[in-house]
Symmetry: C2
Subunit: 213 residues, 2 copies
DNA sequence: CATGGCTTATATGTATACATATAGCAACTA
DNA sequence: TAGTTGCTATATGTATACATATAAGCCATG
């Protein structure tokens, strides 16, 4: 039997991801308790976990609120994500198995298909598949865990209405180059290409965020 | 007024760091409750946080135990730590201010002094000062946070009796080279030197851990 | 003697009751 | 009128009571 607090974490995260809860919103334990039909105890444990995950912040006696990231913090986040994604690409190229290669090719193909159909939603999903394949190929469990946390953290902002026209094709090109470097076991190039790839994706968000303030 | 659960996190961590609680040990909520003189509620919240921090692991209805790392997991951990430390060195060299330079030199000097006195305990502290100075110089808050978490995670194993004869002098030499690279704004070199430096430190732990199994 | 099912003990998971600090509002004073 | 002080409401922090799942021990049965 799964714990209520674990369910709650997912539910509250979903409310953040879906935009129902926005950065700065206050979370009242009693309100959440009524809304989810459980007592305050599991609510508090869920909040605790989400604070540790960086989604919420609390001040003693002041309750929890959805964390607000400044433009600099978001930039810092992407900088680390880019470094670790680059690391994953390097490691993947250093210890590439046939099965991992196939997974990466599969992810790449999904990206191509989605880009051809100019379907940003499908592309977002395919993009995750491609990157996840590289993460697994890297074979470092701790790295995979960190990248998943970063991904979840960044996902909060996926609803921001930012322009992606023409970006899909370019992204696919970059993916192809990265995959080639990995397949050629050129770790240094894979690393650099991947880092630039992520930073390009992230470069627009901070400025957009600053514009929203 | 600080929260009891926050105090508890530090206290339990200390019990792990000091070796009182060893990997694999079971944590009973009622026992901790009596020992620390608080109810189970803050105990549970502290456990929750420490699970998120990677110090404990829980299975539903089975309670919490101090996390046991396999040799591979520890190796993965060091691999990520090395990459992020390298990143910090690179960033530090790219945006070095005079005040940060002084902090790094100060840390380096403390390492030299401790090594000259052949005092491993003092060296461990000085080592932290040196690395922390570089972290701050990098100026990426998220990176600093991640490195602190990794440091705390690795600290659990600082009590393992491993041979350090001759390592102190070598470590100081490496620190000097890293500092020089940063001061010369040679980010690529600083990155590589730092990565190798950390991996050297970590290389022995997994094999030692394997021997203990 | 071994094995399987039932009973019971215990520890986790959840709910509720109680304590206390903070904030908002009102009344009083300068 | 502005500012300050004290009361009160409310939400957080903590303790305790209750529910339930797991596991261990014991008895019965083959």
């Amino acid at each position: 039997m799964p714990r209520a607090s674990d369910r709650l974490i997912e539910q509250i995260k979903n409310e953040i991801f879906s935009g129902l809860l926005k950065p700065g919103d206050q979370l009242e334990e009693a309100e959440l308790s009524k809304r989810f039909g459980v007592s305050r105890t599991p609510i508090r444990e869920a909040i605790r976990s989400m604070v540790d995950g960086g989604f919420l912040e609390t001040r003693p006696r002041k309750g929890a609120m959805v964390r607000v990231l400044t433009a600099k913090e978001l930039n810092d986040l992407f900088e680390v994500a880019a470094e670790l994604e680059g690391m994953a690409a390097r490691l993947a190229s250093e210890s590439l198995t046939l099965s991992h290669k196939k997974s990466i090719q599969e992810g790449l193909q999904q990206c191509k298909d989605a880009a051809a159909k100019e379907d940003p939603t499908a592309y977002a999903a395919a993009n995750l598949v491609f990157h996840a394949a590289i993460h697994r190929a890297a074979g470092n469990e701790w790295l995979i865990d960190q990248l998943e946390r970063l991904q979840a953290r960044i996902n909060v902002y996926r609803l921001l209405p930012y322009e992606v026209v023409g970006r899909l094709e370019k992204s696919v090109e970059e993916h192809e180059q990265i995959a080639d470097a990995i397949f050629n076991k050129d770790g240094a190039t894979a690393n650099t290409l991947m880092r630039d790839h992520i930073m390009l994706q992230g470069a627009r968000l901070p400025s957009l965020l600053k514009a929203l303030e």
